[in-house]
Symmetry: C2
Subunit: 205 residues, 2 copies
Amino acid sequence: MAKRGYHHGNLRQALIDAALDLIEDKGPTGFTLSEAAKQAGVTPAAVYRHFEGRDDLIAEAARQGFEMFADLMQYAYDTGQPSALAAFEATGRAYLAFARKHPGHYIAMFESGISVNRTPELALAAARAREVLERAATDLSKHIPPEKRPPASMVSAHIWAMSHGVVELYARATPGTRSPFPPDALLETGIGIYLRGLGLIAPDI
Amino acid sequence: MAKRGYHHGNLRQALIDAALDLIEDKGPTGFTLSEAAKQAGVTPAAVYRHFEGRDDLIAEAARQGFEMFADLMQYAYDTGQPSALAAFEATGRAYLAFARKHPGHYIAMFESGISVNRTPELALAAARAREVLERAATDLSKHIPPEKRPPASMVSAHIWAMSHGVVELYARATPGTRSPFPPDALLETGIGIYLRGLGLIAPDI
DNA sequence: TGTACATCAGTGAACGCGCGTTCACTGATGTAC
DNA sequence: TGTACATCAGTGAACGCGCGTTCACTGATGTAC
């Protein structure tokens, strides 16, 4: 890897990773700059060599999250080709997979309270993720007769909303609450019924 | 109203209202016990005459939210009768209406990080809300042939997830971001397509 | 290869702040006679 | 109706804490000659 730097080696990324760990198991509120520094084995003041402050650190964690998120969905979309339906469903599954595999990132992206427009880089990464889903929806829409075809951006908004809802309400390991269904199954069936509603899956199956 | 009490009159509710105001326009993080006390015109220590502490205050705000939420959805369900479909759709609309009209409550309920099992009263109120939606889903399910009828609790989970997703992603007034569609329309069309997928709405409309 | 110097990542102490919480208190309200 | 007492909602001062942030510093690393 990159050669070991001055003192720490790669403090910048170590701080981001520490922040993600903290966010993951203490919620967006539980994260503090000081504790992230401590977990990285460094004085709080050292953080300021790499970030403008607390919010900047979270924003960077979120940005990296959006990049991965977009990459994963893009990969799922590409892999699902050439069937528009398969590609779309794979993209939806990738959404949930990302949320489960990278809860720290997901929380930083959607629950930390930082605005997606905080920096141009963050906005760009978020836009890229949105575009992948929208492209998948556009491909899919072509199989619907134009006169009863909803805008592709609306379809993608519906799917995004349902996916986010499943993550927030059923995929989070809230102690004491258990989900009535596995989140994967819930999202899969939900999207399935929705797609049938669009006339893209045979109504009898 | 209740007669003006010892000193303040109705400090308990005033504190809850202040907390809701703060949560509404500063997010769940922005709320502090001290500031809620200040807004109610009272010393922070006074709060402890009515609540065990900060979390207890939030929990009570959330509980009141769930009660209202359940009442509103119940009312919508009743009003929508005798058509199961109309009742169901009205219930869904009531969900969004509640979230928009009482953002403080909604945030306290779903984003403040307090567990729904924190107190029996809170758990009960939350369960009641869930049951209303599930009853509406059960009624609706009866119009689906049994062999391709998903469990009613799954249908209600789908709708809850999509509703929550729309609220979180599109109904929140994040400055700088604007939603591509009005949240009402988004949820309405989303639920419509979903119901068509269940075979409950004529496919040609 | 060795020396002198420049760079700059991380230190450690300090800051002011607002937080949640505690405590002994006070004084307005309610109640018993 | 008036008086003595009990209750208890809210006060004000104090606490310890961890936070984010600043600053002058130090000493390891890199570079020029």
